[in-house]
Amino acid sequence: MRTLLIGASLCLIAATGTARAQIAIVGEWTGRYHEDQGDRVPGDVQGDFTGVPINDAARKYAEAFDVTRVAMLEHQCQPYNVAHIYRGPNQFRIWEEKDPGTQEIVAYKIFNGTYMQYRTIWMDGRAHPPDYVPHTHMGFSTGEWHGDILTVKTTHIKKEFYRRSGLPSSDLTTLVEHWIRHGNVLSHVSMITDPVYLTEPYVTSEEFVLMERGNQNWLYNCEYVMEVPMDKDDVPMYLPGQNPFVEDFAKKFGLPFEAVFGGAPTTSPDYLPTMERLMKR
C-alpha cells in the first residue's frame, strides 16, 4: 500500500512536471526609509561624503560643488540616474512583458514615478550594446534569476551624482542590483563600480513595500522657470579651497573632516583606531 502511494505521488509530480515558478515582483512599490533616512529624504547640511569610496577626483569635484546649482535652468528637472533613483523618495511600478507565443518573460518594465522614468530589464539573454551607444538615465539592463534573487546588470548610464552633496558619478558606471522579495517587502541591494570616481564598489541597500491599494500620484510635471534670478551663463561653483560649507557636516556631528572625506578606508571597522586618534586631536 505504501509503495502504491509513493508511486502515485511520483506520477502526480511527473504529470505536473514544470520547474518551480519564479517569485513575482510585479506591482506598485513605495520606499521604506528606515535606512539612511536623513540622506535619502530631507538631506542634511553640505559635506556628507561618508560611506562612499571616493577618490581624489571625486573629492575635487565635491569641493567645487555648489548645491544651488540645481536652480539652473538646465538642472532643475534633471532626473536621478538608475544608480541614484532608488536612494531618494520614489514609488515605482513593475510589470512583465511576455513573449506571446511562449509566455516566457522577455523583460521586466519599471516606471519610476520620480521624474517619470521608464526602465527595461531584458530577461532574454541579449548582450549589452557597444560602449559608445548613447547613454540614458536608466541605462541598459539585463537580468537573470538566481533562485529567488533577480540580479540585474546595467551599463550605459548617464553621469549624475551619488549624493546631493555633490559626489559625482561618471558615464562609465556599472550597476549590479539584487532584487529580493520576502513577503510584501522588496529588498534592493546595489553595487556600483565607477573607474572615474570610486576606488572600489559602492554598496547601498533600500527596502520597498508593496502598495496594496496602489498609488494615486504617478505624475511629476517639472517645469523650467527662473527660480532664482541669475545670469544665464552663471554656473554656481567654488574655486579650490574656497567652499565655505564643505566641512559643515563634519562640524555639525563633531567628526574629523579627514574621516568624513576619507573614502573607502573609513567604511571599514579597521578604521576605528584611526578615528579615535583623530577625535582626540
Binding site: G43, V45, V67, G88, N217, L219, F245
Partner: protein, 134 residues
C-alpha cells in the same frame, strides 16, 4: 515671465488631483540656514506654481534698504494644492509679508517659505496644521 493663465489653470486642474510627490531634489538644510529667520515685505512680482518647487518673487528692500528681487522657495504645486493653494492664490501686485529661512549665499536673496501673509485680506499660509512642505 508672462503668466499664461489658461495654460496654468489647466495645469492646476490636473495638479489638484495629485497628492504631491516629495521629490527632495535638493537638501533644504544645505541650501538655507534653517536656524535663522528673516522677514521681508513687498510687492509680488511673479508666482511660479509648479514642480519640483513653486517660487514667489518679491520686490523688497534688503538690510541696507536697497530694493532687491527676492526668490522665495515654496512647496511643489501638487503638495500645495492639497493645502488649498492654487495658481490663483497670489496675484502680481499683491503686497505680502513673508518670513523664511535665508539662503546660505546672501547674494542670492532667497528664502525658504515659513509663513506668508497678505494684509489686504488676511490670507495667510504656514501657521495652520499641515501647512508645510518638503
Amino acid at each position: 515671465m508672462r503668466m499664461r493663465w489658461p495654460l496654468i489653470a489647466t495645469t492646476a486642474a490636473v495638479l489638484t488631483t495629485l497628492a504631491g510627490v516629495a521629490a527632495a531634489h535638493h537638501s533644504f538644510t544645505a541650501t538655507y540656514f534653517e536656524d535663522r529667520q528673516m522677514e521681508i515685505e513687498g510687492k509680488l512680482l511673479q508666482f511660479m506654481f509648479r514642480n519640483p518647487h513653486s517660487f514667489v518673487h518679491i520686490e523688497a528692500p534688503d538690510e541696507n534698504g536697497t530694493m532687491q528681487r527676492w526668490a522665495v522657495e515654496w512647496g511643489g504645486a501638487g503638495q500645495l494644492s492639497g493645502q488649498g493653494v492654487t495658481n490663483q492664490t497670489l496675484r502680481v501686485g499683491d503686497v505680502v509679508s513673508i518670513t523664511g529661512n535665508p539662503g546660505r549665499d546672501p547674494a542670492d536673496h532667497r528664502l525658504r517659505m515659513q509663513y506668508l501673509r497678505r494684509p489686504a485680506d488676511g490670507f495667510e499660509w504656514g501657521r495652520n496644521p499641515g501647512e508645510t512642505f518638503n
